[in-house]
């Protein structure tokens, strides 16, 4: 680490866009930093002692934006500041990062259910209602599989046929990395709740259709259940990743949701802990 910054005592500076915010309480000229106990002493900003290993070439450094003397800033207390990237910062802080995707995730499912329940009020035509609900279910299946899963929770599943004609089902989960921003909790919660509750409602419709003997709706209800259950199953397999034991996964999922305490503005970013402090 020392070599990378060219002098650990000074903290990192001058790296464009990734400036370090000075801790407000760093006192000026308070005394040698413990890391600098090798005898660098107190030097004015920008100049190291001559002949210091590896430091000769870059003795001149531009002063930081804040004008705080560098000698005594504690390296471990540096925090990152996103210079000039306010949009990205706002994007990272938002509770819901893809409002349109969230809206459509719920819109098609809920409107399919509402249309099925209220079709008698809108028009007496069986065919119109059937076609409308079927189209809504198909759009919902496509959008959840291809768009909202990708955007909201970073999961994806599809089918691939190789040259032998064998079909492979592929399930992917996006790893949290500095390039990709992890999902927020609100979005993940909305996603999974929407994914789980709607097939249950369609199963209720199945039983009501069977028992009230309105069998002409049976085809539609079965289509609805199969489309939504397919998405649910696909995403559960994505989430499980390498684990093939379903009971372990459900146990951990339940314990996570029961014991999790979410404070306001507190969302988890597993990959970015080293770069940012949580705001409370």
């Amino acid at each position: 680490m020392e070599e990378r910054t060219g002098g650990g005592c000074w903290g990192a500076r001058g790296r464009g866009g990734e400036g370090r915010r000075r801790d407000a309480r760093a006192p000026a000229w308070a005394g040698p930093h413990p890391k600098c106990a090798g005898g660098l002493g107190l030097q004015p900003w920008g100049r190291g002692p001559a002949g210091r290993a590896g430091g000769g070439g870059d003795a001149q450094r531009p002063p930081p934006a804040f004008g705080v003397p560098q000698a005594l800033v504690d390296d471990t207390e540096d925090v990152s500041l996103d210079f000039g990237n306010e949009d990205e910062l706002a994007f990272r802080k938002a509770k819901i990062r893809h409002p349109l995707a969230t809206f459509f995730h719920l819109f098609f499912r809920v409107s399919a259910i509402v249309t099925y329940v209220c079709c008698d009020w809108f028009s007496r035509s069986f065919v119109g209602c059937f076609v409308t609900v079927l189209l809504l279910l198909s759009f919902d299946f496509w959008s959840v599989k291809n768009v909202t899963g990708r955007l909201m929770v970073g999961l994806r599943w599809w089918n691939q046929i190789d040259e032998d004609g064998k079909s492979h089902w592929i399930f992917e989960a996006r790893k949290a990395s500095p390039n990709h921003i992890a999902a927020t909790e609100a979005e993940a919660r909305i996603f999974w709740l929407g994914l789980i509750i709607c097939p249950l409602i369609w199963i209720v419709f199945l039983f009501s259709t069977l028992f009230s003997l309105k069998l002409k709706w049976l085809a539609l209800v079965i289509a609805g259940i199969s489309l939504q259950a397919a998405n649910l199953y696909g995403y559960i397999l994505c989430k499980m990743g390498g684990e093939s034991d379903l009971s372990k996964v459900t146990a951990s999922f339940l314990s996570q949701t029961v014991f999790q305490t979410a404070g306001p503005g507190d969302f988890q970013k597993p990959g970015l802990e080293g770069l940012e402090i949580h705001k409370h």
């Binding site: 069986f126 065919v127 291809n146 004609g165 996006r174 990395s177 002409k216």
Partner: protein, 236 residues
């Protein structure tokens, strides 16, 4: 570096020895093989490839899927031996065709309670249940095709029959009579043959050679039933 520093330490000597002077004396014997491994971290490349479809915009996804559906329709209209229908299967085409066919096969009746409901659901059940049965049959015969691929091919090959339905409805606007019936019969037979040719072009290769007829016969029956429904349709 060390040598230069050393030699600069005594000013009285001759010109300092050049750097790496002793290196030319070193020779590598032919007996010693020099080999090793170079590993290039591939991670960044994989991430880039992965994010090509993971982060594409929604519009790209929609256009990509629409183009795939359109291409498959073209392949059915001009059946050639190609893998497109099989490799990237999708069920949008069959859904659209099934809905269109079912809508056109409705009988418009005065009584709004029975407004063609049973016939509509009937067409759906026949098409989808029939396709599933054919797929199971071909898989049981040892066919080398996956479930959804087969559904895809069978669904897309309903396109000629849908066109036949459209033509029949137009012809039925004219006055009824034997000529009317002959025209419709001719159109339906031609389209039926087209469907059979298109589906066998895609499906036949996946069957073991001595079972081809056994696997194709249910397809024949399937399209025959649909053609029969189209031919005997009369709007009341």
């Amino acid at each position: 570096m060390a040598k230069a520093a050393e030699s600069s330490g005594d000013p009285g000597t001759t010109t300092p020895r050049p750097l790496f002077a002793g290196l030319s004396d070193i020779s590598i014997s032919q007996d010693i093989p020099v080999e090793g491994e170079i590993t290039i971290p591939m991670r960044s490349q994989i991430q880039e490839f992965d994010s090509s479809t993971l982060n594409e915009s929604v519009q790209n996804t929609i256009m990509r899927d629409l183009k795939a559906v359109g291409k498959k329709f073209m392949h059915v209209l001009y059946p050639r031996k190609s893998n497109t229908l099989l490799r990237d299967w999708d069920l949008w085409g069959p859904l659209i065709l099934c809905v269109t066919l079912a809508l056109m096969l409705q009988r418009s009746s005065v009584d709004s309670e029975k407004d063609g409901g049973p016939q509509f659901a009937e067409v759906f059940v026949i098409v989808w249940f029939g396709a599933v049965t054919i797929t199971l049959n071909s898989k049981l015969l040892g066919g080398n095709i996956s479930f959804f691929q087969s559904l895809c091919v069978l669904g897309y090959c309903i396109l000629p029959l849908t066109v036949a339905m459209l033509v029949c409805r137009l012809v039925l606007l004219a006055e009824p009579g034997p000529v009317n019936f002959m025209v419709r019969l001719f159109v339906v037979i031609v389209m039926f043959a087209w469907s059979i040719v298109a589906s066998t072009a895609f499906l036949a290769d996946s069957q073991p050679p001595n079972r081809k007829a056994l696997a194709i016969y249910p397809v024949f029956l399937f399209y025959f039933v649909i053609s029969w429904m189209i031919l005997t349709f009369t709007p009341q």
